[in-house]
Symmetry: C2
Subunit: 285 residues, 2 copies
């Protein structure tokens, strides 16, 4: 099975209502009198990082990618649980982990450390507390809303390619936690764009049953000559969100388009219909 | 680093108070006026299961081992998040997962599905809600308390060795969820014995700063000729707990000893002092 088939099969099991049918990045559930936000991301050597990667950076990104999912819900991190496979560079992993937890003010709650041969797999579960109710989802964009993105795209791509100015964006990304919390009470829909702007915009459009019309020239990119690539590359950990027409974003963000009634394509890029998600961004196979 | 060194290093990072210094199997934290119980266990091919294992059984045990940690806290399962590496037997994994979730009335909350080459690693995070306050820990055993264990030990061992009568105990263990909830308001200390009775009793004694005096003949075992092995083999997923002298267990359980003042060994087995944990049970290296 591929990832999509497996996930489709999982949705046929006994799902918690808070799982949101797996159509969101996090589970959202009432617990006591608060709302709990839960997410789990895994990273495997060979698939998500190279065998020669600096494992301190891998540890940082494991934390950042999970916290980015919490950011997209406007959640405040409570703590993380780590699933760790021992290796030859544990000290370095600990250093990156420690730096990320300090940087994002997130404590360790627990986890499991195991011995495993061969390529390594790391898992992290992040626990958050919702700051706004209802908790933003991918599914709430309304016709007429403005479409916005935080930050400048393509920085992680340039860093991956070795551009010294953008190495940090690739190796040590920062989830938009405070921005997510500031946005949560206002947005009609929100998600992070860790798989690439266009692919994630496509998903938001599908979940909201609307068409997103995006003006590619409006998207802030780190290198204008690489605009097309920047729209498709992932790992930027910025936030994509929609706001009612009369609402201005409470944080720095750029308007990149407008929500239209569902047409025959979920996405219009400079008026060109995009009918399927293939080639739009980073798809796990 | 080995597992113990890595965990010791983790405790020097920023820990949530609910992490209990990693001296317990679960994190325990107040959330929204209730008490949240969190645990994460990982299983790797080659370390925790053989490459030729029935992956449906592996899925079941992944769920059971995590829920057993919740059981030891007297918690009611809320749901689980799965970290899954795709393979050639995904359908079979789904079947075992589905059966376990149904059997233990626990829904799926989310997770991550990834592609990974080589040996596979699965992770599961279980979320529970405490049923009693304070939540039982390993650290509360008091001098004079009786020591008890649920069930019959050595069944998983015999099943592993191919004994038809005990195959299910090895392949499809049941966490003691209802027993844990019934016991939680009464016990002074509790934990599961998935790493073996003696090793886990040693840990409970260390955490409680007492000596546990255990009468090996009193321990119910599936095959009396294999008593010594049964006390050291893990995977039984029974509960070990201590109760004040005048309290009877509210469920079926066997008294196997008594809590004594901390002597020079944490464990007395038939009056023989056991000074260190080596060789007592299943130790992850």
């Amino acid at each position: 099975m591929n990832e999509a088939d497996f996930i489709a099969a999982l949705t046929r099991l006994s799902l918690h209502p808070g799982a949101r049918g797996f159509e969101d990045d996090c589970a959202v559930l009432e617990f006591g009198g608060e709302t709990l936000i839960l997410t789990h991301d895994a990273m495997a050597e060979g698939t998500h990082f190279r065998a020669d990667a600096d494992i301190a950076d891998v540890a940082w990104k494991l934390v950042a990618s999970n916290l980015s999912d919490l950011a997209a819900k406007g959640a405040q991190p409570v703590g993380v649980l780590l699933g760790y496979c021992l290796g030859s560079d544990d000290q370095s992993f600990l250093q990156g982990l420690s730096q990320a937890l300090e940087a994002f003010d997130t404590p360790l709650l627990g986890g499991d450390t195991i011995k495993a041969d061969g390529q390594r797999v790391f898992g992290l579960t992040a626990i958050g507390k919702a700051s706004a109710n209802p908790v933003p989802s991918r599914g709430g964009a309304k016709v007429g809303d403005g479409i916005y993105v935080t930050g400048t795209l393509g920085r992680a791509m340039l860093g991956y390619e070795g551009d010294e100015d953008h190495l940090e964006a690739f190796n040590r990304p920062s989830p938009r936690l405070s921005e997510g919390q500031a946005l949560a009470p206002h947005v009609s829909a929100m998600m992070d764009i860790s798989d690439g702007l266009l692919l994630d915009a496509y998903r938001l459009a599908k979940a909201s049953k609307v068409t997103l019309a995006i003006d590619s020239e409006a998207v802030p990119v780190a290198q204008p000559g690489r605009r097309d690539d920047a729209l498709r590359w992932g790992d930027d950990y910025e936030l994509l969100f929609t706001l009612p027409e009369d609402t201005n974003p409470p944080i720095d963000a750029t308007r990149i388009g407008q929500v239209e009634p569902l047409g025959f394509a979920p996405l219009l890029l400079d008026d060109n219909p995009i009918l399927n998600a293939q080639g739009l961004g980073y798809e796990h196979s």
